[in-house]
Assembly symmetry: C2
Homo-oligomer: 153 residues x 2
DNA sequence: TCAATTAGTTAAGTGGGCTTAAATTTACAC
DNA sequence: GTGTAAATTTAAGCCCACTTAACTAATTGA
């Protein structure tokens, strides 16, 4: 078996167990937070991509601007998003994650971190060091494949 | 920074980019297949966990048996699941993924593999070898944390 | 045998998420 | 100013997912 074939195989195996665990946690978290997957997607998009207009968000999520408007309305009523007017063009609404929304996401991130930390208990320092190097390589490779290659914090 | 702290940090960074990409693909795939996230979850559960009863599935997915029954009905009508009677206890229905359902999942897996293979283009053979070792360690550590530790194929 | 239990389905109702189409507000161009 | 285009919202309608409650059928056991 060549390294490249084995690489794909091993990556697939890891991703399967990783995804299963992550999806489980994700579903549990969103349910507990009273969110739907779509809502979480919108929240994440705004959190990572920054504020944008209604139609922009819809486009990113692959839905009509009407659908985006409705979902934003629900999230605004839950206090997770904020709507403000664009200073130059008052037709445009600037949609952004609120402080409460940011905190909710922070909690989710913390839960993820906890699981990752628990992984270390089954690994020696040497193994961790090896994994650190490997994941840095993987992250760099994956970033190169991203459509929007522009860097952020 | 100690290795353990850096380990969590690096793993988190990788998981962020990996999840973003995976979720994107997942949403695209399910939409194209005409499935909802819940339906995909049920399909995956049965695919990985094997056939089970209606209530069992509902329990695993965290919904009532009525909800499970309804969702199963929709998936049966789409030809992705099969319902049969338990030979010993005719109250119990055995819910299993059909051949068509299995093929659908196989297509999704193939699409994932394609992305992973594309990652190799940005990595040398040596880097790939390093990553293989690291991911084997990670997979082993993650498996040890699984609730149901029983192995399968 | 017959009452209680168990597995599953059906019914009714709620709400989310999506669509298209129509309405509203603002901006811009002439 | 007047007409057109753009951004968003509202309305109507559809399907999915979920709930509780009522119902059917099969099993168990005293």
């Amino acid at each position: 078996m060549t390294d490249t074939v084995q690489f794909t195989q091993v990556l697939h195996e890891w991703s399967e167990i990783f995804m299963r665990r992550s999806m489980n946690d994700l579903v549990y978290f969103t349910r507990q937070a009273g969110l739907s997957m779509s809502q979480l997607g919108a929240l994440m998009r705004l959190y990572h991509g920054g504020a944008c207009g209604v139609s922009d968000l819809g486009e990113h999520l692959g839905v009509s601007s009407a659908a985006a408007s409705q979902m934003i309305e629900r999230l605004v009523q839950q206090g997770l998003l904020e709507r403000s007017e664009h200073p130059d063009d008052r037709r445009i609404k600037r949609i952004a994650v609120s402080a409460a929304g940011r905190q909710l996401i922070a909690e989710g991130v913390a839960a993820r971190r906890q699981w990752m930390e628990s992984l270390t208990h089954a690994l020696t320092q040497e193994e961790q060091a090896l994994i650190i190097e490997a994941l840095k390589l993987l992250t760099r490779a994956a970033r190169q494949q991203e459509p929007s290659h522009a860097a952020q914090s």
